[in-house]
């Protein structure tokens, strides 16, 4: 081999090695890019767009409350963000068993007619003067279904948000101290509900 040919081949080898290094560098960077993309997607799906369930609980009957809390705890277990909005008879259903608060005569009259505590709630059908709810509670216990009181506790643990309509509190003459304890409970109006529910996937009126 002439000296010139040797020189040319070593030049080619050098270029080949440089190309190889370049390819390796590109592969590495593309791998890094795709990992970053995956992480970003995960971030967006994981936190930015957590699916939402919004429930309006209008009814204050035991059966509807059972349905509301089964849905709420189930959705929270599925990793959804759950907000419950209690209004009208739903608000009244959140009353404690017995509290003394300052009230006007009209407010007190309302208070006599509203249920005192979740345990006193009627059924929407087959109430039979309180016999229906007692039967439902018995059957639920027998089948190992959690009671509404237990489901409320579960909701607290799973981070279900509880919002109470301030207008219905006023209409029913209820005071904040009359409501059951619930961490993070807030009073709200229709604007707060709409803001919460609008980007959500599921909204129900119970």
């Amino acid at each position: 081999m002439s000296a010139a040919a040797q020189l040319a081949s070593s030049g080619l080898e050098n270029r080949l090695a440089a190309l190889e290094a370049e390819v390796r560098r590109l592969a590495q960077s593309s791998l890094e890019q795709s990992t970053r993309l995956e992480q970003t997607t995960e971030l967006v799906l994981g936190t930015g767009q957590r699916e939402k369930l919004s429930l309006i609980v209008f009814s204050g009957s035991l059966d509807r409350l059972i349905a509301a809390f089964v849905l709420a705890t189930g959705a929270a277990a599925m990793g959804m963000e759950v907000s419950m909005f209690f209004t009208f008879w739903g608000t009244a259903a959140l009353r404690r068993e017995r509290v003394r608060v300052e009230k006007t005569l009209l407010e007190r009259m309302f208070g006599w007619m509203l249920p005192r505590g979740v345990k006193k709630l009627p059924l929407s059908q087959m109430n039979m003067g309180g016999g229906g709810p007692a039967m439902i509670r018995y059957v639920m216990k027998k089948n190992g279904v959690a009671s509404v009181e237990e489901m409320i506790e579960l909701s607290k643990e799973l981070g279900v948000q509880l919002n109470v309509c301030s207008m219905s509190m006023e209409l029913l003459g209820m005071k904040p101290d009359e409501l059951i304890d619930y961490p993070g409970r807030s009073f709200c109006g229709v604007a707060k509900f709409l803001e919460t529910a609008a980007p959500g996937k599921i909204t129900m009126f119970l």
Partner: protein, 60 residues
């Protein structure tokens, strides 16, 4: 209800830890499958035993 209890129990478990769940709820097989798909946890096995279902779940 078994799903809620499962979710609650698995919440404090570490990644990769496994849990065996027994439930007599007829809806359990479909519910646990849906729950795993939704939450990304792995359903290792699901068996129909006499009187109950048994599922093994690995936390993702």
């Amino acid at each position: 209800m078994p799903i809620v209890l499962l979710a609650k129990a698995l919440r404090d478990a570490g990644r990769g830890s496994q849990m065996t769940v027994r439930a007599d709820d007829r809806a359990f097989p479909e519910d646990v499958k849906a729950w795993c798909r939704k939450t990304g946890n792995e359903l290792v096995s699901l068996d129909n035993r006499p009187g109950y279902y048994e599922a093994v779940i690995r936390k993702a």
